[in-house]
Symmetry: D2
Amino acid sequence: MALVFTITEMNAYLAEVFPQVDGMFGIDQMDEDLLVMRLMVSDSHLRPGGTVSGPSMFALADVSAYVATLARIGRQALTVTTHCSIDFMRKPESGRDLLAQARLLKLGRTLSVTDVLMYSEGSATPVAHASLTYSIPPARIG
Amino acid sequence: MALVFTITEMNAYLAEVFPQVDGMFGIDQMDEDLLVMRLMVSDSHLRPGGTVSGPSMFALADVSAYVATLARIGRQALTVTTHCSIDFMRKPESGRDLLAQARLLKLGRTLSVTDVLMYSEGSATPVAHASLTYSIPPARIG
Amino acid sequence: MALVFTITEMNAYLAEVFPQVDGMFGIDQMDEDLLVMRLMVSDSHLRPGGTVSGPSMFALADVSAYVATLARIGRQALTVTTHCSIDFMRKPESGRDLLAQARLLKLGRTLSVTDVLMYSEGSATPVAHASLTYSIPPARIG
Amino acid sequence: MALVFTITEMNAYLAEVFPQVDGMFGIDQMDEDLLVMRLMVSDSHLRPGGTVSGPSMFALADVSAYVATLARIGRQALTVTTHCSIDFMRKPESGRDLLAQARLLKLGRTLSVTDVLMYSEGSATPVAHASLTYSIPPARIG
């Protein structure tokens, strides 16, 4: 399904709707098959030992599924996460950005399902795997 | 199974191992049947509209399962989350603390499973429901 | 929310819509707070060693969430499972029926969320824990 | 990680440890990158309308993750499912076998994580997506 946002437009939209996380995430790639989002790691995301915290990984998965969905349906401010299942498989590498590869598995009338694999930059072994469901508000009529 | 921490000891331990979230969480109740943890809501946890963000709810579920587990097995710094499944069911009430009721469903030799229901303070309707698995490192010998 | 089926009516409805599992499940209790469903264990549900198989436990969780939802919304043949997250925590006791305690956590306009704890009959320790989401078709107009 | 079973050996092992499902599943492909398992659809797996039931899809995901794990660690009869998260995204096509593409995402000392995508044979659109965790018993010494 064709995308209705460019990367520049999506970054501007995220800064508008989530001002509190502006500068935390960036989009490396966004096309019909794959979205790659980056968590720009800073001290606030780290656990002792320098690895990215679970809530920061969850936040990356969540915004990736949001972007993968909205890239196709456009500005739908009321689209909300209804479910996330996440497996934490390995410790991320210390001091590296985290990259999420997100693939939209389903885009239905009332929900989307997105698969997300997360990697430390420069590594080919996933550190976490998530599946997220977003609820899409019914289309307005008129 | 008997608890090996008091609330005061657990709060001190959390401040020691997670200094970056010190002041974010508090323990309202901790006994063998139930743990009640509080997310002290501040601006950094909010989405536009004043509701608590998904990553903040995830963080509350995660720390609740950690505390429910460590309250029984003691200081095990290497205990890590391996899975979280979370349903976001309703929008939290604006400007209220979030309370998590956590119940340990299983404490095995290598993993624990904790059920967590989250409520806006003063409301009886859950806003989110999570199940978390922690991996417990093998006991040291000697 | 009030129930629109009696146990007798619900059993008849299940036999009508799922004839292939007729005789496999029964309803022990069904009221606004709690549904208790029974898996009548027979050889076809067992693994070597006499314990109930994972797919049979999944089937019990699934039908419990279906009944908990339809008890409130009535005959909606197009209501379908969209998600199940299930933790298998202990081996069920050999040769015992399995009982599911199901609680509806959310009934929205387009989805329901149900929490299910499963026990071997006569035991107070849960063997499995599941959370299920059902998608409810939009109400027909006219 | 190299496989320690051939397809023929694995089929024989499955028939030995799960005699009750013999003839239900087959292995189409099994190598280091990908396992493809087939649910040979028969009347007992169907819901009214001719589509494969949820418990049958769960059973296919479960056996796929089991085979993906045991193909690498060998005969470990005590390896058990501890978690499954499954999204049902579309109705399977009537009367078609179901194919599962399983990829082992993690093989640790005490657990494995497997990602499973399921398709109706002949279709490129996934009908369901699952992530499963298996607990691996500690290695025997001596």
